[in-house]
């Protein structure tokens, strides 16, 4: 690297928030509500707020009522009250209605586009005086001389593939702040570094994850039933893989549908994207979307570890909120209310104390944590398969989580089995006709964009492992779990090698999580790069 070694320009704030998601925006807005004199900045790597946000999403309105009183009179652009819940168990061509689990009773909740909701929330935060900077990636942490987090460093722009400055080179600035709030979402790349550096996970189980894929469809008139919320279990997954679907019926003939697969699956040949596409061919789904068109699609990892995997959420100079901490409630399949709540809680803490210290205890004593504690055994119950999982879920729900036990979580990347040792199940997957044809066609609907002349933002720490050990043991599962076909094994004059199509990346972080050797490190590309989701 021969980048200019000039002193970086510095901007000073009281609080800098990384990530304009529900947690970060709630924190920023609440800080200004509590103390209008505080200087608050929000850094967002997407080209505009909401463009990297992907969620179901059915949300509980309680925390929004607190944050934006009267919001129901001027709701976000897409906001449909839930009218009815349905819960189905699917066979390849069959379906059976199951009783809706109490956690999934969505009476009083709303179906929204979380991306559009974040834009809506960002407007409110800006009106309150928050400085929001979309298109800038917080690529590194600024540490103070004492070793505390002292802010963030914005990534340089205009660096070429080889790491040399281009004519357009602009050095990123440093943003210094008394408190840094990490609201990066699941597996944030700065949060990951900080959790390691400050050993925040020393007393918790490993975090566990899932990959969620989503498509927004415009369907034939009359096919959607606005307010209908459907979830399914079963086919196309075998009972060893935790996962299921959501089908949310919006207004204006729009349907949001998606599929979530736990990343603790063992099958090295499993392709989550393919499971989602198979699911769309179940008669129940196909009937809804056939003849329609895809408006937007994408993927994002989500946290599932809950109570026992929650790291310490404070460190000198910084706090973790939302899914960067890991607050999603799996049985409810919701995290937005937790994100908003933790953001507001952090704001209250920072406004009062002016420091991160004490936030961990505050969060753990709050309803955010009480909610997670109650359901802590439900997700790990599924580690023994679907049926044992449902049984555990029933017991834990009936007892309200009062049984004196906590099931443990295991790291997802350790769960993958070697090809030689794995017995592939019979999945009854058939040929497909509905779009998108493949992952590349799907990426097209994500409108993802990266300048190809920039350093590859997926760092392979030991490339030899890919071409040798991994090929032998797991058959390069990165070429299958990535929903955007970023990873490809190619043979050319140079022999067999891993090709990284970084420009396709939708920033879901699945590779960073599931790679069995933990040698893929996701870092931020140039600010503004990545998907341009439309109402996801």
């Amino acid at each position: 690297m021969s980048l200019p070694d000039a002193e970086r320009e510095i901007m000073e704030y009281d609080v800098v928030v990384v990530g304009a998601g529900p947690a970060g925006l709630a924190c920023a807005l609440r800080l200004k509500q509590l103390d209008a004199d505080l200087m608050v900045a929000v850094i967002e790597k997407a080209s505009e707020v909401g463009a990297h946000i992907l969620s179901g999403a059915v949300i509980e309105p309680g925390p929004l009522d607190e944050l934006v009183p009267g919001w129901r009179d001027a709701p976000p652009p897409i906001c449909v009250p839930v009218e009815k819940d349905e819960f189905w168990y699917l066979g390849k061509a069959s379906r059976r209605k199951l009783p809706t689990p109490p956690q999934q009773n969505n009476h009083g909740n709303f179906i929204v586009s979380l991306g559009a909701t974040c834009q809506w929330l960002a407007d409110k935060a800006e009106a309150a005086g928050v400085d929001i900077f979309p298109g800038f990636a917080a690529s590194d942490i600024h540490f103070t001389d004492e070793g505390a987090v002292g802010g963030v460093i914005i990534g340089d722009m205009g660096v070429d593939l080889a790491g040399e400055p281009k004519d357009s080179y602009v050095q990123g600035i440093e943003i210094h702040a008394r408190t840094t709030v990490l609201g990066e979402g699941c597996r944030g790349h700065l949060s990951k570094q900080l959790i390691r550096r400050f050993e925040l996970d020393a007393d918790s189980d490993p975090q566990t994850y899932a990959i969620g894929m989503k498509e927004l469809w415009k369907v034939a008139p009359g096919k959607s039933t606005p307010g209908l919320v459907q979830h399914t279990l079963g086919w196309p997954l075998d009972s060893d893989i935790y996962g299921g679907s959501f089908i949310y019926h919006l207004d204006e003939d729009r349907i949001a549908l998606g599929y979530v697969c736990g990343l603790d699956y063992a099958d090295p040949d499993f392709v989550p994207f393919e499971a989602f596409q198979q699911f769309k061919h179940h008669p129940m789904v196909r009937e809804l979307i056939e003849g329609g068109e895809i408006i937007s699609s994408g993927a994002r990892a989500l946290v599932e570890g809950g109570f026992q995997s929650l790291p310490k959420v404070e460190m000198p100079g910084a706090v973790l909120i939302g899914d960067a901490a890991g607050l999603l409630n799996v049985p409810k399949i919701k995290g937005t209310h937790q994100a908003l709540r933790s953001g507001m809680l952090a704001a209250g803490h920072i406004a009062e104390k002016g420091a991160a210290e004490g936030f961990d205890a505050r969060l753990r004593a709050s309803p955010v944590m009480a909610e997670l504690k109650k359901v802590r055994n439900i997700r790990p119950g599924f580690n023994k398969g679907l049926w044992r999982g449902l049984l555990t879920a029933a017991i834990e729900t009936l007892t309200g989580g009062a049984l004196p036990r906590t099931l443990r979580n295991h790291a997802d990347h350790e769960e993958l089995e070697k090809r030689a040792e794995f017995n592939p199940p019979e999945r009854e997957w058939g040929p497909r006709e509905l779009p998108p044809r493949d992952r590349l066609a799907s990426v097209y609907f994500a409108a993802t964009e990266h300048d190809e002349d920039q350093p590859v933002h997926l760092k392979i720490l030991e490339p030899d492992v890919c071409t040798e050990r991994c090929t032998e043991e797991y058959g390069n599962p990165c070429t299958r779990f990535c929903p955007a076909a970023v990873y490809e094994m190619v043979e050319d004059e140079g022999g067999r090698r891993l090709q990284i199509n970084a420009a396709n990346c939708v920033h879901c972080k699945t590779c960073d999580i599931k790679d069995p050797y933990q040698i893929i490190n996701w870092v931020t590309p140039e600010g503004g790069a990545g998907p341009n989701y439309q109402n996801l």
């Binding site: 652009p77 897409i78 914005i154 722009m157």
Partner: protein, 248 residues
Amino acid sequence: MKILVGIKRAVDYNVRVRVKSDGSGVETDGVKMSVNPFDEIALEEALRLKEAGKADEVIVVSIGPGDVQQQLRTGLAMGADRAIQVEAGDTLQPLTVAQVFKALAEREGAGIVFLGKQAIDDDSNQVGQMTAALWGRPQATFASKVSLNGETATVTREVDAGLETIEIDLPAVITSDLRLNEPRFVKLPDIMKAKRKPLDVIALDELGGVVGVAPEAGHHAPPEPRGRGIMVDDTAALVAELKNRGLV
């Protein structure tokens, strides 16, 4: 010398454009909007001219509803000195836009009206030419190189046959082509500075000589989707299939 730069709010070039299901137009709900890329290039060139000491002030202009202020702020963050929003509805025809630029050019005493060669949404490629005609000044369209020499400008134009270099008297209209330059990245502190730069709002009818003409768009329709492909075994089969379909 003042340079007036027109910037249009258009659907971002990365977005897959969709026609509204009732055929009334293109879907912009929840769609990312940006500065028309050719206009961004025009602005970049104007800023470089100013930085080289050839111009004193760069003014960005956009015509439309309040939303266009977002793109004007981007222009200010890139380095423009001030911005003008001419308040108008969403659908404007090139002639109206040209009338606005002519009126503003006179009002501001502009030395150059710098525009993109066309907008990526309607692809009209008319505003630059019409502005020059209404204003009674020279034009240099599809510019890939611009240099100013006092009273005149030397402009290299991208034409069908290659490159054409012309010299024009100033004031004039110049429209940018793709290869003129690569626009700069906005610096974060400049976004803050842009918030404090002046942004004037003028009503359309405050400008003289603007007669809004608005032909009505009849219907919008997406192109027919491409049919399913077939695989043929050899050239003979390919030729036979093409003949069969009456294509050769």
